[in-house]
Amino acid sequence: MAHRLAHSAWIATALAVAVLAVVGSFPAASNQAAGTEVQIDQFTFAPQQVTVKAGTTVTWINDDDAPHTIASSTKLFKSKPLDTKDKFSFTFTTPGTYEYFCSLHPHMTGAVVVKATTGSSAANKVR
C-alpha cells in the first residue's frame, strides 16, 4: 500500500504532464481504448462506471469550465485539481471495484471495476 500511495503521488505530480503526450493521441472510441478514458462533462463522469482489465491505465479528461478532482473514496489516489482539458491517469493493477468522487463537488461519483487478466481467483472487493 505504501508503494501504491507513493506511486499515486508521483503520478499526481509528473504523469499529468506525460500523459498529455502519450494518451492524448488515442481516439476514445476505439475498442481497445474503450473504458480507459473517462470524460468529465456537465459535472458528471462519463461513463460513470468503467470495467477494465488489471494493468489498465485509466485517464480522466476534464471537459468542463469548472475544475474537478479525481479522489479515491479510500484515498488510494487523488489528482490535483484538473482545470479545463487537464488530464489525470492511474494504473489499476489489482482486481476490485474502485470508487471515486470529485472532492470539490462530492455529488459527482464514479467507479472503476478492474477484472483479472486471467482466470484468477481474486475477490471482487471494493478498494
Partner: protein, 312 residues
C-alpha cells in the same frame, strides 16, 4: 418605482422577485423578530442614512477564472471594489464568503489581496472549496487563518452583533454535500453557550447552510445541528455564497441569504444540465454580478440586506 425606503409595507416574496426582475436593481430586506419585510425596491442612494452597523458581503471572486462566462474575473472584482470605494457610507468591514481564488494558486491569492485591499477595509474571510485545493489548507490558513480554530472558523462581535464564520468546504465525503464536522459543531455549541437569546447572530459560510438543491451539492450535510444550536436566538441571519445567485428563505427566526458572485453567474437550480459557469450576453453580465450590503439598526434588531449588482 421609487426609492421609497420609508414605505415599510409587507409584500410577498413572490412579489419582491417580480419587482426585482422588473427593476433589475437591489431589494432592501428588513428583519424584525424573524419576520422579513420588504422596504421596497431601492436605488443606489438608499443606503445614505444608516444608523448602527453596516457591513458588506463579497463572495465568489474566483480570481484566476478566465473561461467564456467571464474572461476577466479579476477585472469584475476590481469593478466591485471600485463600487465599494464609492459608497456614500463607509461600511465597518467586509465579509468574504469564499472562493476567493479559482484554483488556490499563490498568484491568485496575491491578486485577490492586491485588489480587495484597495477598499482599505477590514476583511473577514471564510474559505470556499476553491481556496482549499492544496492538501492541508496551508495556503488559505497562512493568509487568513490567524486567530481562527481548526480549518479556519471563528467568531467576533461588532456593535452588539455576534458574527460566526464557519468552514463547510473541507474533507467533503463522496456523494455528500458541504460538511461542518463534529469538531466545528462542538466549537459552535460552546461559542453560543451563555449568550443572551436577544443577541443578533450573523452566521457566514461558503456553501449554503440550508438545502437549496442537493442534486447539485447545494447544501450542508450537518447544518441541521448548527441550526439547532441557533434556534433559541431571536434574530439569526445566515449569509452564504457558492451558488452565484441571490436566494433567500426564512425559517422561524432564521433568515437565509445567498450572494451574487463577482466573477460569473450560475444557473437556477435544475435550469441547466449542471451548475457550471453560465454564459450570459456580455451586456447582461454585470447585472448578475455584485456585492451585498447589510445594515443592522441598533435597538431594532433588524438586518437590512441589499443586493447591489455591478450594473443596473
Amino acid at each position: 418605482m421609487t426609492s421609497d425606503h420609508d414605505d415599510r409595507h409587507s409584500v410577498s416574496r413572490r412579489k419582491i422577485l417580480e419587482c426585482m426582475t422588473w427593476a433589475g436593481t437591489g431589494v432592501l430586506w428588513s428583519i424584525a423578530g424573524g419576520t422579513p419585510r420588504s422596504l421596497g425596491i431601492v436605488g443606489e442612494t438608499m443606503a445614505a442614512e444608516p444608523s448602527g452597523l453596516t457591513f458588506l458581503q463579497i463572495s465568489d471572486s474566483h480570481v484566476g477564472f478566465d473561461k467564456p462566462a467571464n474572461p476577466n474575473a479579476l477585472g469584475t472584482l476590481e469593478e466591485a471594489v471600485n463600487k465599494i470605494k464609492a459608497l456614500a457610507v463607509k461600511p465597518s468591514f467586509i465579509i468574504h464568503t469564499g472562493d476567493i481564488t479559482h484554483l488556490s494558486k499563490p498568484s491568485e491569492f496575491d491578486d485577490a489581496d492586491r485588489i480587495i485591499s484597495q477598499t482599505r477595509l477590514d476583511v473577514r474571510y471564510v474559505p470556499g472549496e476553491h481556496d482549499v485545493l492544496d492538501e492541508n489548507v496551508k495556503l488559505y490558513r497562512d493568509r487568513y487563518g490567524r486567530g481562527t480554530e481548526g480549518t479556519g472558523w471563528y467568531s467576533f462581535d461588532a456593535n452588539g452583533v455576534h458574527f460566526i464564520g464557519l468552514v463547510n468546504v473541507v474533507d467533503l465525503k463522496a456523494g455528500g454535500l458541504g460538511n461542518l464536522g463534529n469538531d466545528q459543531l462542538e466549537w459552535l455549541e460552546d461559542d453560543l453557550r451563555g449568550r443572551s437569546a436577544s443577541t443578533p447572530i450573523v452566521v457566514f459560510a461558503h456553501i449554503p447552510l440550508w438545502t437549496v438543491y442537493p442534486q447539485w451539492g447545494w447544501g450542508t450535510d450537518d447544518s441541521a445541528r448548527a441550526l439547532e444550536y441557533l434556534k433559541r436566538f431571536g434574530s439569526v441571519t445566515v449569509l452564504n455564497g457558492h451558488i452565484h445567485q441571490i436566494m433567500q428563505k426564512v425559517e422561524g427566526n432564521v433568515a437565509f441569504h445567498t450572494a451574487m458572485s463577482t466573477a460569473f453567474p450560475q444557473p437556477a437550480p435544475g435550469a441547466a444540465p449542471s451548475p457550471g459557469p453560465m454564459k450570459v450576453a456580455d451586456d447582461r453580465l454585470r447585472s448578475v454580478l455584485g456585492v451585498t450590503d447589510v445594515t443592522f439598526e441598533r435597538g431594532q434588531q433588524r438586518l437590512a440586506i441589499i443586493d447591489k449588482p455591478l450594473q443596473g
